[in-house]
C-alpha cells in the first residue's frame, strides 16, 4: 500500500502548532500524509504535530509534520483544509497506523461468521437527513451483519433512549430544538455509562459548532453536507470489529439494585477490556438483554423486585438463554451455591471475594473472546 491508497476512514485529528490547538477530522491517511478538515490556513511549510485516534478502535498516535498543501472548500462534499506531510521520523508510526486501519477495513468487508448487530443512535431533527442515513446504512450492510439505526428528534428523547438501550455509536446534530447538541453531548460524557461510546457531532454550524461539540466531549465533528460514504464506511469498520476473533469486546450485562455496585462493576470490567451494560431494575434488564446481546449475564440475588435465582431460572427455562449466567451476591456460600445449581446458573461469585475474583471468573467464562 502506498500514497495512492488512502484510507477512507475518519480519524480524530488534534493539531498543535505554536501553542495553538485545534481538533478536527482527518481523512485520506497514508504513511506519508493526511488531510485534515479545517478553515485554519497556515502557510505551506508550517511545522506542527498531529495526534490521530478513534475511540474504541485506534489508540492515539502522535506524528510530526508540516503543512504541504492547503485546499479550499469546493463543491458540497469537498471540505477545505490542509494536507499534512509527516516527518521522516514519524513515517514508521504513520505506516503502522495505516496498516492497522487497512486491517480493520479488511475485517469490516469480510462476511461475518455469526450475526453481528451494531446499534447507532442518530439524534437529528431533520427527517430527510435521517432517511438518507438509514437508506445508506441499509445499502451498505449485508446480513448477517446488521446495523440498527435508532432515531431521536431532540435531546430529551435521545436521553431517554440512551438510558434504556445500549448503543455502539451516537451521532448528534448540533442544532436541535430546545437543547443544542453540545449540551446533550456534555450530559452524555458526564454519565459513567456512556463515557466510552464514540460520539460524532454533525452540523452546518462551522467552527463555532465544532468548537462547542468537541469541547463538550464529541470525538469527531463533521461539517454538513456530510460525506455520507465516509461516515458509513467508518460505521462499517466499527461494526466490523465483530468479525475478528477478539475484535469485538464481549458484552457483560449486570443486574443489581445497587447503583454503587453497578458503577463499581462497570468501571472494573471495562478496565478489564469488556463492554458492560447495566440495569438497576427488571424493565431495563429485559430491554438490554434483547438489545445488547450480552455474552455473559451477572445477576444479584436479593433485590426488591425479584430474586436473582428466579430470574436466572426463567432466562434458562422460559427464554432459552444459553449464555453463561453468574449469580453475584453476599449470601453465604452454601446458600448461594444451592440457589445457583437450582436455577441452572453457570455459577456464582460472592461479593466478598472482591472485584478481582469477579473479573477472573468473567474472563474464564468468556474464554479467548475476552
Amino acid at each position: 500500500m502506498g500514497d495512492a491508497d488512502p484510507v477512507r476512514f475518519m480519524l480524530r485529528a488534534e493539531i498543535r502548532c505554536s501553542g495553538q490547538a485545534l481538533i478536527s477530522s482527518g481523512f485520506e491517511l497514508t504513511e506519508a500524509s493526511i488531510f485534515v478538515v479545517t478553515d485554519w490556513r497556515p502557510p505551506a511549510g508550517t511545522e506542527l504535530s498531529v495526534r490521530l485516534s478513534f475511540p474504541t478502535l485506534v489508540e492515539p498516535v502522535e506524528l510530526g509534520g508540516r503543512v504541504a498543501e492547503r485546499r479550499v472548500a469546493g463543491c458540497p462534499g469537498e471540505p477545505g483544509g490542509i494536507v499534512i506531510a509527516f516527518n521522516e521520523s514519524s513515517r514508521a508510526s504513520a505506516a503502522d497506523l495505516t496498516a492497522q486501519i487497512h486491517e480493520l477495513c479488511a475485517h469490516a468487508r469480510a462476511r461475518p461468521a455469526e450475526p453481528v448487530t451494531y446499534r447507532v443512535l442518530l439524534v437529528e431533527d431533520n427527517g430527510l437527513i435521517r432517511d438518507m442515513f438509514t437508506f445508506g446504512i441499509r445499502r451498505s450492510f449485508q446480513p448477517p451483519a446488521t446495523v440498527v439505526i435508532d432515531h431521536a428528534e431532540d435531546a430529551e428523547r435521545a436521553w431517554s433512549k440512551l438510558l434504556d438501550s445500549h448503543y455502539d455509536l451516537i451521532i448528534v446534530d448540533y442544532f436541535l430544538p430546545s437543547e443544542d447538541g453540545a449540551s446533550l453531548i456534555a450530559r452524555l460524557r458526564q454519565d459513567e455509562r456512556l463515557t466510552h461510546v464514540p460520539i460524532v457531532a454533525i452540523s452546518v454550524g462551522g467552527r463555532s459548532a465544532r468548537d462547542a461539540t468537541i469541547s463538550a466531549g464529541a470525538d469527531l465533528f463533521l461539517d454538513k453536507p456530510l460525506v455520507l460514504t465516509d461516515l458509513l464506511h467508518t460505521v462499517q469498520i466499527l461494526a466490523g470489529r465483530g468479525n475478528t476473533p477478539g475484535g469485538r469486546r464481549p458484552t457483560v450485562l449486570v443486574l443489581d439494585d445497587s447503583p454503587l455496585v453497578l458503577s463499581v462493576t462497570r468501571f472494573a470490567l471495562e478496565s478489564a477490556g469488556l463492554t458492560v451494560a447495566v440495569a438497576e431494575n427488571l424493565a431495563t434488564f429485559e430491554r438490554l438483554r434483547v438489545t445488547a446481546s450480552p455474552d455473559l449475564i451477572l445477576i444479584d440475588v436479593q433485590m426488591p423486585e425479584a430474586f436473582g435465582d428466579d430470574i436466572a431460572s426463567t432466562l434458562r427455562g422460559w427464554h432459552g438463554v444459553h449464555v453463561p449466567i453468574l449469580l453475584v451476591s453476599s449470601l453465604e456460600e452454601s446458600e448461594l451455591a444451592r440457589r445457583a445449581r437450582a436455577a441452572e446458573a453457570t455459577g456464582y461469585v460472592r461479593k466478598e471475594a472482591g472485584m478481582s475474583a469477579l473479573i477472573h471468573r468473567c474472563k474464564e467464562l468468556l474464554g479467548s473472546a475476552a
Binding site: 463499581v264 436479593q302 451476591s329 471475594a353 472485584m355 475474583a357
Partner: protein, 110 residues
C-alpha cells in the same frame, strides 16, 4: 486496580453507608415491620458493596449487623436482648465505616 476502585468509589460508598446507618439507628429506636425490612436490606447492601470494593474489615461487621437485624425483624419488636445486640453490632460497624476516613487501603479477600 483495587486502589483505583477504592479511590474512585470510596466517597460514594461512605455517603451511602452513612445514610443507611442513620436510617438503621432510627429504626432501632422505633422498630416496626417495614422499616426493619429496609434495615436488613440496607445492611446487606453495605456488605455487598464493601466486598466488591475490597473493604475486608467492613464486610463481616455488616453481615453480623444484618444477622442481628434479621433476628429482630423475625422475632418481632420489643425483644430487648436482640435490640441490644443489634445496637452493639451497628456501633461496631459505624466505627469501622468512620475509620475508613479516606486513608485505609483496600484489602482484597480471596
Amino acid at each position: 486496580m483495587m486502589e483505583e476502585l477504592y479511590a474512585k468509589f470510596l466517597p460514594q460508598f461512605l455517603e451511602l453507608a452513612r445514610d443507611r446507618m442513620q436510617r438503621a439507628y432510627a429504626t432501632v429506636a422505633r422498630p416496626e415491620g417495614a422499616a426493619l425490612t429496609v434495615m436488613v436490606r440496607d445492611l446487606h447492601g453495605i456488605a455487598g458493596e464493601a466486598g466488591l470494593l475490597g473493604l475486608a474489615k467492613i464486610v463481616p461487621l455488616a453481615r453480623s449487623a444484618e444477622d442481628q437485624a434479621k433476628r429482630l425483624r423475625d422475632g418481632g419488636a420489643g425483644e430487648g436482648a436482640d435490640t441490644k445486640a443489634l445496637v452493639s453490632a451497628l456501633d461496631e460497624l459505624q466505627g469501622a465505616i468512620e475509620s475508613l476516613g479516606g486513608t485505609a487501603k483496600p484489602k482484597e479477600s480471596t
